[in-house]
Amino acid sequence: MMKKPAIEFELPTELEAHEPPELRGLRRDQVRLLVLPRNANQPVVHTQFAEIGNYLRAGDLLVVNNSRTLPALLQAHDETGARVEVRLAQRRTESLWDALLLDGRTHIGRSGMRLDFGHDLMAQVAAPNPDLPFLWQVQFNICCKELLNLIYRMGVPIRYSYVAEALPLDLYQTVYAGPPGSVEMVSAGRPFSWELLLNLERRGIHLATISLHTGISSTRDDAIDATYPNYEEEYDLPEATVRAIDSCHEAGGRVIAVGTTVVRTLETVAAQQQGLTAAHGWTRLHIAAGHHLRVVDGLLTGMHEPESSHLDLLSAFIEPERLKAVYLQAIERQYLWHEFGDMNLII
């Protein structure tokens, strides 16, 4: 069933960020920052990301997602010799992945398809994912570190049409990236430099981590994207982060989620338990207007596309009409959208 989007607007194509700020002559922390107070009586501020510390207080806690991006786009041929673009979506076992199978924007997956990637890497396509029928179970002929090695050697980062050229994988990493698993960049934290994070730390604004391996953000089919806004994604919430969150709140600080993946992780765990505890699991939590946020006080996120499910999540922090008005301001002021674009702090 197609869901009505939280807010509707048109995004001019010239406001799509085509490349990282480093390739536009900027440092990663020099993208723009739109500061949107949750208190509607406080003004919206337009500034630079490097100034984010001016809108945080000693005792606040930044919770980031340290999942590292994989080069999850692979090219293969099927048994007829036809080219198949394989976009890995979610790892199921050491040799089994859910994946999109595409020819351009056309979904071409079918059971029994045999894929040859070259370099002795092959796969058999089994059944579609029972909950997400546009994803196919791709069973590789090797597993574990050997499979990971070939994914790295043969894959490139997933990108969309507004990024014209393939870019090095390191440009898709946050500065604190840990173990790999995300098929698309956890982009909300990308603008942080270590210089900025260490300065914030010295001012009493601390850092804690979770890990959630992202799936694909788009199936390249708008109707499917609208019907299935959230996939199941694997998360890990460590004990050290739980302690940091508890200490932050006990001292009157604010927990700022760096990215919607952090919101979904923390709110999933909080909803399952009385009080937050370390946890590992899967979430498909869809957050929208009216959702009672149990843990997160603020959100740092990118600028989201029209009709994106992320806008539903933002509506849990900001009343939708106000959010729309601010987005129209951002368009007027020519903020840049997507993973290499500008940022929004809701606090």
Partner: protein, 245 residues
């Protein structure tokens, strides 16, 4: 002896010479290892891996050229996928350049760029890829393998010497930026060792004057261990170090 205490250590250039000696010493002391070599040394790296496994060491070997940007990202990703984190990074892989070693004023540009890329840019890229997870964990040790060719302007040691001088400066700058984070960066000049690289650089030299690589490992053990958590931005001469057990 278990003073490496399950630390995860990544050693580049571990197929032979000092890198292999470090891998064996760290492994004997309880470390978990990621060992690396360039593709041309893959067979020797596999042999090092087998030796370590026979000793009961948990080890991942990754063939990657540290002068290649995509290889560095792969090496970091595979290491973190296997062990979740890296505690110690030893930037040991280095290229000597063409032999017999030419004067710097005669040095071929392409060879110069490759030596710089392997010996300086490679450590820069790999450290950049791994230091973040160290800072986030508030713990880590970066050990850069230096040389007196980076301090003294020896004729015919041009590109290699320049790269080692630059690597020492990377050490100093990282140490300053990392102060207070729990992550430290130090350099070690291992001195003349009886290795393939030394023999190639000095075919007329007397190998009996050169140390066995295993003999210079104590300073590396010290810098990798928790005994050195307050040591940052220093440059050590391996032969003068006597503290490690």
């Amino acid at each position: 002896m278990n003073d490496m205490n399950n630390k995860v250590c990544l050693i580049t250039g571990a197929s032979r010479g000092l890198g292999k000696a470090l891998a064996l010493e760290f492994g004997r002391r309880g470390a978990k290892l990621v060992i690396n070599s360039r593709p041309a040394s893959a067979a020797q790296l596999a042999e090092t891996e087998r030796t370590l496994r026979d000793l009961g060491v948990e080890v991942l070997s990754v063939v990657a050229d540290v002068s290649v940007r995509a290889d560095v990202e792969r090496l970091a990703g595979e290491a973190l996928a296997r062990f979740d984190y890296v505690d110690v990074l030893v930037n040991n892989a280095s290229a000597l350049g063409p032999t017999p070693m030419p004067y710097l004023i005669d040095y071929p540009i392409d060879d110069y760029e490759q030596v710089i890329r392997t010996n300086m840019t490679g450590p820069f890229m790999l450290t950049r890829a791994l230091v973040g997870q160290m800072i986030a964990r508030k713990s880590g040790s970066i050990i850069n393998v230096s040389s007196d060719a980076g301090v003294v302007g020896y004729a015919s040691w041009g590109a290699y010497g320049v790269s080692k001088a630059a690597l020492d400066q990377l050490t100093r700058t990282w140490a300053t930026e990392l102060q207070g984070t729990g992550v430290r960066a130090n350099s070690v000049d291992p001195g003349d060792m009886n290795t393939t690289m030394k023999r190639a650089s000095d075919p007329e030299g007397d190998a009996s004057d050169w140390a066995d690589p295993q003999a210079v490992t104590p300073i590396f053990v010290y810098l990798a261990s928790d005994e050195s958590t307050e040591v940052n931005g220093q440059r050590f001469l391996a032969r003068e170090f006597e503290q490690a057990k």
